[in-house]
Amino acid sequence: MQALLRRLPIESYVIAFTIALWVALAWATPNFLTESNVSNLMRQTPIAAIVAIGVMCTIVIAGIDLSVGSVAAFCGVAFAQMCRHDFGLAPSAALTLLAGVSVGLTNAAAIGRLGIPPFIVTLAGLQVYRGLALLLAGGMTVGGLPAEVKDFARGTTGLPNLFWTMLAVAIAVHYLLRYTRTGRYLYAMGSNAEAARRQGINTFRITVVAYVLSSGLAALAGVLLVSRLSIASPSMANAYELQAIAAAVVGGASLFGGRGTVLGAVVGAILFTTMSNAAVLLGVDPFWEMVLEGLLIALVVYLDNLQKRRQSGA
């Protein structure tokens, strides 16, 4: 039994903890398990989860992407400006995603070809794309968007559309990581880049895949955020990179590379959304909420390390 518990991946603990939290909340507050609150949670989680899935892919190859918040803001503003100038909804969204992909290609080229550490490349991106977002918006909130823009994120198809989007992204990336050769190479490269190269894995191609996913999904998050808010603000999505890293790490990703799953990142995002939802429902002081979230990250990483040490027999 103990051996089984030790072998369970860290995600299972986080999933168990999240479910325990739900049960406790359903018991402690009359309003947690209501249709409207569940639907709220289904709208509040997806954008953070989508960003977290992308960032998790860069963490798997022992990289990092600090630029996602700024990229989401930049792409969101670009999307809003295109919509406002009657580019049409679908072409605007497509061009925005293309912009996200180009950001990812640039990051990957700087990391893989120029050999600049990912932390530095994406830290630079964090500044550059925030600045571009402000320039593109003229420092102002961009409003006056066509009514259809908000229809998507505010609408439902049985369940909220945002939730379906998250599900689609999660399944696609999960498939890529789990069932394709490229996916296996991502983990191989994250575990030992040198060994991966010697085995003939094209590590630059893998770097491109990871960073394009990260920036592309950040761009998607930007579009969804604009749809949800019905405006674009150049200061939106601030510090989303840190939320995303926290969600991925709580979900079992290791910053040393080689580990991380889509399910983990999504559960991590769900856990953080649940915690802020719970803080309001229980009337917890917002400052304590931040402290608790921080402690949770520390605790999960500690447990994870403990488990790894036990597995290695130390």
């Binding site: 309003n31 709220n40 402000l134 909130t141 006056g144 808010l229 603000s233 917002p286």
Partner: protein, 326 residues
């Protein structure tokens, strides 16, 4: 004195002369956060005043609220000896001494929007934020009465950021103002990180906690836009009373679609415009009033198309007529 030192001396004199001439026609305007729309409107007012006065306006500030960064910006600006400095202090206590030092160095300082812990400044142009909060409370009561027949029920308020003097004053004014309506209870308060998306989530969560909430006060433009989006998403516009501070593109949209009942607006343009004029006057030795209230107004769907309000709701439409004309 040989010719080399003569040339050096005359170059130095010329340089001093040039920099003095340059100093006279520059006013530095230092805002709290260059990345926010509100401060862009302050800059717009300052630049319009600069055009009228033939002054060069230096638009300065940190991208986000950052007291230490703002002190550095203030010190470098003062080092270049402009004719005057217009500043909106990020933190009351922290900016007090640095502002006093600039005044002592002989550069007139005009404080706008938020106060600083010093009396060494030429003039202070600001919104009375507490009065703004009370105006929001009155609008809230009017809305509840209009929709339910009497001013009674639970309301909450949403604070954009913790520890900001101007926001705290608005909240205080709102809570105090609501006391005039004994049947209205202020039950909840949440603090966001000044992001629309978080304001949106918190609004939904506050309504989940207290489904009988009849109204919410959002204390700045980011919160107003986020709350408005949530009310719009839940299609509560005609039942719920949302009152928000300031006006930006998002808030105006929600005022139009009925998700926001009223906006309490202030006049950032006039703070920038008046700040530069006052700075210019102070640099020429004019004695100024120590405190100037730039005013607040309440806008609802009913009066939002009033031409007098157009320039306050959207600064790009701002027109300055001659003072005595119409």
């Amino acid at each position: 004195m040989n010719w080399k030192s003569m040339i050096a001396a005359s170059v130095a004199t010329a340089a001093i002369g040039a920099s003095a001439a340059q100093a006279d026609d520059r006013v530095a305007v230092i805002v709290k956060a260059t990345t926010s729309e509100y401060w862009q409107w302050v800059f717009k007012g300052a630049e319009d005043a600069g055009k009228q006065l033939g002054l060069k306006i230096e638009k300065l500030g940190t991208p986000k609220d950052d007291a230490a960064g703002q002190i550095s910006v203030l010190e470098s600006a003062a080092g270049s000896k402009p004719a005057a400095i217009v500043i909106s202090p990020t933190i009351f206590e922290a900016l007090g001494d640095p502002i006093a030092k600039v005044t002592d160095a002989g550069i007139p300082v005009i404080v706008i929007d938020s106060g600083a812990k010093t009396d060494k400044y030429a003039s202070f142009l600001t919104t009375n934020n507490e009065a703004g909060g009370r105006a929001a409370a009155n609008a809230m009561a009017a809305c509840i009465k209009e929709r339910t027949g009497k001013a009674a029920g639970k309301v909450g308020y949403l604070t954009a950021m913790a520890g900001h003097e101007s926001l705290d004053s608005r909240d205080k004014g709102f809570v105090e103002g609501m006391k005039a309506y004994p049947d209205v209870k202020v039950v909840g308060n949440r603090v966001a990180n000044n992001e629309e998306a978080e304001g949106m989530n918190l609004t939904a969560d506050m309504l989940t906690k207290d489904p009988d909430l009849v109204g919410l006060f959002a204390d700045n433009a980011q919160m107003g836009t986020g709350s408005g989006a949530s009310i719009n998403e839940q299609k509560l516009g005609s039942k719920f009373c949302l009152v928000a501070f300031d006006s930006d593109a998002g808030e105006l949209e929600h005022l139009k679609d009925g998700s926001i009942y009223a906006l309490v607006i202030q006049d950032p343009y006039m703070m920038g415009f008046g700040g530069v004029w006052y700075g210019f006057a102070a640099a020429h030795g004019v004695r100024l009033p120590k405190n100037v209230d730039t005013g607040v107004g309440t806008v609802t769907k009913a009066n939002m198309n009033d031409p007098k309000l157009a320039g306050l709701l959207d600064v790009s439409k701002r027109k300055l007529g001659p003072y005595l004309g119409d």
